[in-house]
Each structure stands twice: as structure tokens, then as C-alpha cells.
Amino acid sequence: MDSPTRFLPRRLALGAAALSLLAATVFGQMAVAAEVNTTGLAVTDTEVTVGQLHSATGTMAISETGSIQAERLAIEQINAGGGILGRQIKIIQEDGASDWPTFAEKAKKLLVGDKVAAVFGCWTSASRKAVLPVFEKENGLLYYPTFYEGLEQSKNVIYTGQEATQQILAGLDWIAKEKGAKTYYLIGSDYIWPRTSMKIARKHIENVLGGKVVGEEYYPLGNTQFGSLINKVKLKKPDVVFTAVVGGSNVAFYKQMKAAGVTSAKQNLLTLSVTEDELLGIGGENMDGFYASMKYFQSLDNPNNKAFVEAFKAKYGKDAVIGDVTQAAYLGPWLWKAAVEKAGSFDVDKVAAASPGIELATAPESYVKVHGNHHLWSKTRIGQVQADGQFKVVFESDLIEPNPFPKGYQ
């Protein structure tokens, strides 16, 4: 038997050769990767890692599931088309669990621990506010999909949903003109988004439209008793009921409205907060004929959207519905891809600097463009609820400039 020591020199030589080969590949890779990445992000020659940060559990899972699905679909499609700068996108998904401190903690883990190049995530304003300081301190990049109250702008965030003025002003203008509305009743859930939205709506109604607000009310989240409110609406007979009630409360609200005889035959209603997702729970027959103001509806008739809806249903089942936020979440990875390619780099500063002016002609909502304030130029549409749970688009605005800090509306 040969003693093992006889082979030691040869083994050493082999080992050294392998090591140097390995080193060469690693450093070689780093040299190439360094061209598109000077800040130590998780980027190799073949892969780039991004984070996904949503609530997969807890009360917000109902809403955020759609966003998670849409972002995954977009990333899969981008990978199938060859990835970004020749690199496949790898996803690390973290669960914010509907708990804002958890969101902040997971954001830090993604940015500091995993060195992700971008994060697609958050849904509520509360979760966004919780992660914002982390993104600013660690210099990360967040794509945020929800329509929200505005009053915010950060170089580390791209807002792919609408800010308040985009969604509200066009909707109110339309209903004032179309229905000759003069009196308005404002209803919302009791937290920041509905309250800020109604503040903007009230200013617009009183100062621009020359109308009158005859009532303004907020109910706690999760409230299921709207009987008194409905009686007050009946007493005051407003031309328009304007609502921003969120979540499960909507189901109770519209069921009770219908039961009390307040239907679209007698009452105009415009909502900011019912998408196809909520409508699934409410039941189309309970909201038939009412209006919603959004930038996206599943029923939009254009080739981009047809392809999107088809791909979404192929992946998540034919009964899946797509709401406004789901579409906005789908835009995130595509906008990031366009900005990275324009910058020729994954560096957060370069990507952020390259973002304004990015256009997306392939967006399901038809066309969007990133503004200097990191929000999107987008159209606002009015959809009328149909009994089958879909919206019929009855109005479409021109492209609206985002204005997160509206003068005269605060």
C-alpha cells in the first residue's frame, strides 16, 4: 500500500492550482461585476438579488397577496427575457407580518445582510413610514405600489401607485360635471389616508367646484355597523357620497346600503378604496352601478393589459382578480429594469438618478412615466361597478402630473 504522504506534494500542487483557479474566477467575476456595482450589492456575473417585503401573514395579507403575486410574475417575465444587464434576478422574500416594527427589521436585514439591489414592498402607509428611515440610512431602493395620501418624497423610494391628488381631483371633477353634483357626503375609515384624502377633497369641492360638504365622518377600522350613517345620508340627500372606507368594513357598508334601499338608482356614490379585490368580498350585486376612481381596472381594454391579465390568470388561476395596487406592484420590477439599463449599473444612487423620465409603454394601465418627484405620471379612470364583480370604464383622464405636496390643499 502506498502511504498517503507520498502523494502529498502532488495533492498540494493540485490544491494550489484549484485554489488559484477559484481565486481567478472570483476576482475576475468581481472585476466584471464591479463595473455595474461599486457599492458591494449582491450582484454577480450571472445573478442579481432583490428583496420582496410584504405581509404574507396577519391582517394585511388579504391585500398584499396580490402585490406579491404581481411582482413575482414581473420578475419571472424579466428573467425569461434574459434578465437585467445579462443577470437573472433572484428573490429573497421577507414577511412583514402586518406589523410595522417587523417591516423595519426585515428591511434592515434585506439591505444590510442580503445586500439586495432593490426592494419591492410595503402596502400600508404605516409600513412605508416604518421602513423609510432604514432605506434612507442604508441607501436602499424601494418600489412602493399603493395609492396613498402623498406628502412624501424620498430619493430612496419610487412610488408606483397614485398620490392623493391624482386619484381624487379627476374623480371629483368628473362627477361634478357628469352628474351636476353640488352637495357631498364624505365617509372614511379613521386613519391617515382617508383623513388626508378627504381634506384634499373638501378643499377641491369648496374652492374649485363651488360645491358644499354636507357631512364628513370616520368610522373605526373594522366597523360593521353603518345603520346610523346610512340614515344620515338619507336625511341629508347629498348628490354624491364620497367614500374611503377600507378593508372588510366595505362589505358591511355596501350590504347595509343596499338593504336600506340606498342603491345606484337613487344615489351617486364614488369610492377611492374599492378595487376588484374588495368587490370579490362585497359581491357585485351589492354595489351595482356605483363608481370608483382609480388608475387601473382589470377590464381596461388595451393589448398590454390583455397580455398581463392572461399571464396573471395562467399563473394564479382563472378566478384570480387584479386590482389597482396589484397592477402598480407589477410595474415595480419593470421600472427598475428600465432604470438599471439606462444607468448601466445596479448602484442605488445611479439607478435613482436615472429613474426620472423613464417611460413604460408596456404598462398594463397603458403608459406611465416617472416624474422628478419619484411618482408616476398616470391617467385616472372612473369605473362603474357591474353585477359580475368587474368595472366598466366610463371615463379616462389625460396623463396627470403627480403632485405629492399640493399647494392650497393642505
Binding site: 401573514t57 391582517t59 395579507a61 388579504i62 397577496t65 379613521d190 364628513e216 365622518e217 370616520y218 368610522y219 373605526p220 373594522g222 366597523n223 360593521t224 355597523q225 345603520g227 346610523s228 350613517l229 340614515n231 344620515k232 338619507k234 336625511l235 372588510g248 366595505n250 362589505v251 358591511a252 350590504k255 347595509q256 343596499k258 338593504a259 336600506a260 334601499g261 379585490d277 374588495e278 370579490l280 368580498g281 362585497i282 359581491g283 350585486e285
Partner: protein
């Protein structure tokens, strides 16, 4: 004169609204009043038994739509009965597996049932998905009844009211006019003595707990007519439910009724003059004040001290 008749109509509808809130509160609280009041078990999973009833109704509604459309107008009655038995059966199992081991430690029942509620919520999420669902209501339950031109009385509200009266009457008969009810009350007042005179207290406990859960199931079925069903729907109701039971004086059925009535009327009246959130604040403050003056609640059984 016209505004006067209109005001009358609104007053009538608002009065009905108060009654309707009362029925909702009572239906939620009855099951808990039996379990908490009679057995002293703090059942934090009560809301989830309610959700079981709601999901049962949803499933029956979907099955009816698919396999027996002609049954559509009547499926709701079947759903209510099934909700009662399914929630009751699960309650029976829970008592057997968990609660029966914890009777001497009331605080532990709180923790255990709270854990149970989390497990049940996750189970709902795994089975039915995170999204809220809604049973399709039969035609006769939608819309309103118009005694005059200006008055709309919601039919689903009337239905919930009728159901509440029926359930309350049945529970009253069972607790105060039946042999089993006598055994329940005896067990509550003196467990050792009851056992000594030959009452099978284990069986009584199990049946009482199952009954309480069954009533929660019926409440859940009824609430599909006015609200939504989601994995966490139950937790929305649980605070109000405990509020009613504690305010009423835990061990008295009459107290539960009186408490649901006063909270509902106060809430409904204040909601009409101020916004929804403020009305809730005032109602809660009033309840706290009264509880400070009467710690044992509105009604309570007199005991020698």
C-alpha cells in the same frame, strides 16, 4: 309639514337601527354569557366559533349555487342549523381536549383559548384563503320593507331580530325551565355539592360549552347578512362581546340582555349626533364609568359574603 314627516321617518329608522345593533350585540354575547357567565371560562376563541358559522354559511351557499340552485331561497335555514351543530361539535371537542383540564385555573383558560383562536385563524386562512368571502344572500333577504314612502326597514335586520328573539327564548327555556338547566345552574354555584347529589358535572360542562359555541355559530351565520367573512372576522367582534357580558354582570342572562340594549341604544343615538369614532369613545367611557360605580355589572346574582 314635509320635513316633520321626514324627521319622523328618520326617527323610526334610527330607532330600528338601535334595535338592530342590540340584536347583533345580544346574539354575539349570548354564547359567551353561557360559557363565561355559567362556567367562568374566559373563551378568547369565541369570535372564531362565530367565524366557523359564517364560513359554514358561505360553504352551504356555494354548494347550493353549484349543485342545487332550486334550493337557493331556503339554503339559509339549513346553513343556520348546520352552523349551530358544526360550531357546537367543535366546541364539544375543544372542551374535551383542552378546557376540561383547566377548570381550576381560569387565567390559563384565557391563554389557552387565545392560542386556540390564533390556531383557528390560521386554519381558516389555510382552508379558505386570506381574502374575505361573502355568501350570496337569497333574494328575500335583500332590500327593504317600506311601510310608508319614506321609511326603509332593512329585511336582513328584521331577520336577525327574529332569529335573536328565537334563540334567546330557547336559551331561556333550556336554562331556567329544563332539568338540564337546573343541573347547569347547580354546577355553577357549587360544583362539589352538585357532584355529591349525583349530577354528572363533566357532562354538564361539556354540553354547556358546546351550546355556547353553537350559539356563536348561529350568530356567525346571521352576520353574513350584514358583514363580511374573513379569517380574522371573529376578532373584530370579541371586544364588544366581552364588553356586553361584563357590563351586564357575568352570570345573569337578563343582565346580558339589558347590557346589550343599553350599549346599542347609546351607541346608535350618539352616532346620529356625532361621528362614528367619537360615538364609540363616548360609549366606552360611559361603560367604564358605570363599571367603576358597579363593579359587578348591571345585574348580578346576590351571594352571601
Amino acid at each position: 309639514m314635509e320635513w316633520l314627516s321626514e324627521f319622523g321617518a328618520i326617527a323610526a329608522m334610527q330607532g330600528f337601527n338601535g334595535l338592530s345593533v342590540f340584536c347583533v350585540l345580544l346574539l354575539m354575547a349570548l354564547g359567551l354569557a353561557i360559557i363565561f357567565g355559567q362556567m367562568g371560562v374566559i373563551n378568547m376563541a369565541h369570535g372564531e366559533f362565530l367565524t366557523i358559522g359564517a364560513y359554514t354559511t358561505f360553504v352551504v351557499s356555494v354548494l347550493t349555487e353549484q349543485y342545487a340552485p332550486f334550493f337557493g331561497p331556503y339554503y339559509f335555514f339549513l346553513a343556520i342549523v348546520l352552523s349551530f351543530f358544526i360550531a357546537g361539535a367543535i366546541g364539544w371537542l375543544v372542551e374535551w381536549a383542552m378546557i376540561s383540564k383547566l377548570y381550576q385555573r381560569p387565567l390559563d383558560t384565557l391563554l389557552a383559548t387565545w392560542g386556540l383562536s390564533l390556531v383557528m385563524q390560521q386554519a381558516f386562512r389555510s382552508i379558505f384563503g386570506a381574502r374575505e368571502v361573502s355568501a350570496t344572500l337569497p333574494e328575500w333577504l335583500m332590500g327593504s320593507w317600506n311601510p310608508t314612502e319614506a321609511i326603509d326597514i332593512p329585511r336582513n335586520g328584521l331577520f336577525v331580530m327574529g332569529l335573536t328573539v328565537l334563540i334567546t327564548a330557547m336559551i331561556f327555556l333550556m336554562l331556567y325551565r329544563s332539568r338540564w338547566g337546573l343541573q347547569v345552574r347547580a354546577t355553577v354555584q357549587n360544583r362539589v355539592m352538585s357532584r355529591a347529589v349525583g349530577i354528572n358535572t363533566k357532562k354538564v360542562d361539556r354540553m354547556t360549552f358546546a351550546l355556547g359555541c353553537g350559539v356563536a355559530g348561529v350568530a356567525g351565520a346571521a352576520f353574513t347578512t350584514i358583514g363580511s367573512t374573513g379569517p380574522t372576522a371573529g376578532s373584530l367582534y370579541i371586544v364588544d362581546t366581552f364588553l356586553v357580558v361584563v357590563f351586564g354582570g357575568a352570570s345573569s342572562l337578563l343582565g346580558t340582555i339589558a347590557s346589550a340594549f343599553s350599549i346599542a341604544q347609546a351607541q346608535s343615538l350618539m352616532e346620529f349626533f356625532m361621528s362614528g369614532s367619537m360615538a364609540k369613545v363616548f360609549t366606552l367611557s360611559a361603560v367604564i364609568l358605570i363599571l367603576m360605580l358597579r363593579p359587578q355589572g348591571l345585574f348580578s346574582i346576590k351571594v352571601r359574603k
